[in-house]
Symmetry: C2
Subunit: 311 residues, 2 copies
Amino acid sequence: MNAKDSRFLSRLDATAKEIEDLLDRLLAPAPADGEIARPARLVEAMRYASLGGGKRFRPFLVVECAALFDVPRQRALMAGAALECVHCYSLVHDDLPAMDDDALRRGQPTAHKKFDEATAILAGDGLLTFAFDILSRRETHPDAGVRSELVSALARAAGLGGMAGGQMLDLAAEGRFAGNGPQQLGESEVRTLQAMKTGALLRFACAAGGILGSASGPRRQALEHYGSAVGQAFQIADDLLDLEGDPALVGKQTGKDAGAGKATMVGVLGGAGAKERLKELVAEAEQALAPFGTAAAVLIEGARFVADRHA
Amino acid sequence: MNAKDSRFLSRLDATAKEIEDLLDRLLAPAPADGEIARPARLVEAMRYASLGGGKRFRPFLVVECAALFDVPRQRALMAGAALECVHCYSLVHDDLPAMDDDALRRGQPTAHKKFDEATAILAGDGLLTFAFDILSRRETHPDAGVRSELVSALARAAGLGGMAGGQMLDLAAEGRFAGNGPQQLGESEVRTLQAMKTGALLRFACAAGGILGSASGPRRQALEHYGSAVGQAFQIADDLLDLEGDPALVGKQTGKDAGAGKATMVGVLGGAGAKERLKELVAEAEQALAPFGTAAAVLIEGARFVADRHA
C-alpha cells in the first residue's frame, strides 16, 4: 500500500468515526420533538443495524464530493448519515428469510437472527423513515430548497425506480416467483439491475455533494458520472469477492451467487473479463473528475480502492 | 342518516375518487425523472396495495383541514396521496406472516397472499419511500419550506417515535418475543401505544392541512387536538368492530383481538365504557374546532361518523 492509499484509508476511517458518533446521537433513546416515545426494543434494533460496523463508504462519498464545493462538513455528515440509514435498512430487509435469507452480516448475526423477523422488518422501516427525518432538519442545510432536493433525489434513488426496484429485479432473475425458473440475464439487463440495486445509492451519494454545494449542472453531471462508474466497480468487486473471497475475511457467506443463479457481471463476462471491466471503470471515474483537478484526488483513490478490494 | 351525514359521505367519496385517480397517475408504469426503470411486478404490487379500496379517510382529513386555509385542492390531494402511501405500506407490512399474519384486507387477499412475502416487503418499502418523493414535488407546494416541513412531520409521525414504534409496542404487548408472555397493559400504556400506532398518522393528516396553509400556531394546535381526538375515536371504534362486527361487512377477520391478547381501550374500559369514551372524544373534537366556526362543520361530521361506525 502506498502513501496515497493510506491517505484515502485514513480519510475513510475518519468519516466512519464521525458517522458512527452522529448516528449514535441521532438514534438516542429519548424522543425528538413531534415523537411520542421511542420503544426500547426498536431503538435497540435500529442501532444494532446501523452502528458498530461498515466502512461507511457512501457517507465518505457524500463528504468528499461536498468538500469540492466547500460545504460545511457537518451538513455533509448529516446527509451521509441519512444515506447510511437507507443503506442499513436495505441490508436488514434483504437479509430477511423471505428475501436472501442470510444469517451473517459483517461477521455478526443478521438483525432477524439477533432479534426476530417482525422486529427486523420494523427496524428497516424505521431506518428508512428516519433518513427522511434527518434530511429535513435545518442541521442538514439551512436552505429548505436544498433539503427538499435531497429528499427527492434520495427517494428516487431508493424507491421503486431505484434500489427497491433493483432488488425486485434481482429476486425475479433468481426465479423466486411461482411459475418462473431462474433467468439468464444478458449484459444490458444485468447492468440495469445493478444500476438500480447498488448503483442508485452510490450515485446519490455523489449527487448529494453537488446538491449540498449548489453545484452547476455540468459539475453535478460529472459527479453522477463518477458515482455511476464507482457503483459499477463496487458491484463487480463484490461479485468477485463472492466468487473468490474467504468467508472469514469477507464476514459473510461466500459462493452463494453461483448457487442462487444470481445475475452478476462476473457471470456475464467471466472472472477475467470482469477484472478488465473494473480497470475501465476506474479510468472512467478518473476522467469524470478531471474538471476538479487535484481537489478530487482522494475520490479517485476511493475508486481504485473499490476496484482493488476483491484482491 | 340525515342530510349532514350524507354531505360528509359525499365529500369523503369525492376525495376518495380524486386520491384514487392521483395515485393511479403517480404509480404509472413509466419511470419518473431520476428513476431508471419501474419493474412491472413491483409497480403491480404497489398498485394492488394502494388502489381500488379504502375510504381514504386520512386524505379526506388533509383536504378538509387544508380547505380551512383556502389551500388549492391539488396541493392537499398530493399531501393526502403521500399520507395514503404510508398508510398502505403499514397495512402491507402489518399483514405479513411475521407480524399480524392476516390473509384478508378489505375483503381481498393481503399483498403477500396475492404475490409473495418478498414482493410484499418490497411493495411496502416502495410505498413508504414514494410518500417522500411525492411530498418533495413542487406540485405539492411551491414553497420548499412547506415541503420540508411536511417531510419532517410525516417522518416523525410514521417512524420509530410514531407509527412504527406503535407497532413495536403492540407486538411486545402480545408477548411475541422470546421470554415474554402477553402483557396486560394499563390505560395509559394503551393510550400511548394507540397514539403512536394509529393516532400519529391521523394527527399528521390534520397538521398537514395547517402546514400547507401556513396556519398560525394556535390554529395548528387546534387541528392537532382535533386529530388526536379523532384518532382515539377511530381506534376505539375499530376495536369495537373487532369485538362485535360481522366479518362479511368489516371485510376482514373479526374477534382476533381477544384471542391475540391485543391491548385495546375496549379491553381496558369494557364495551359500555368504550362507547361512553367515544362520546367524550367526539365532544372534544367538536370543541377543538370551535375557533373555525361553521367552516369546520364537515370535519365535525367526520368525527361523528368515525365514532358511529361500530354501530
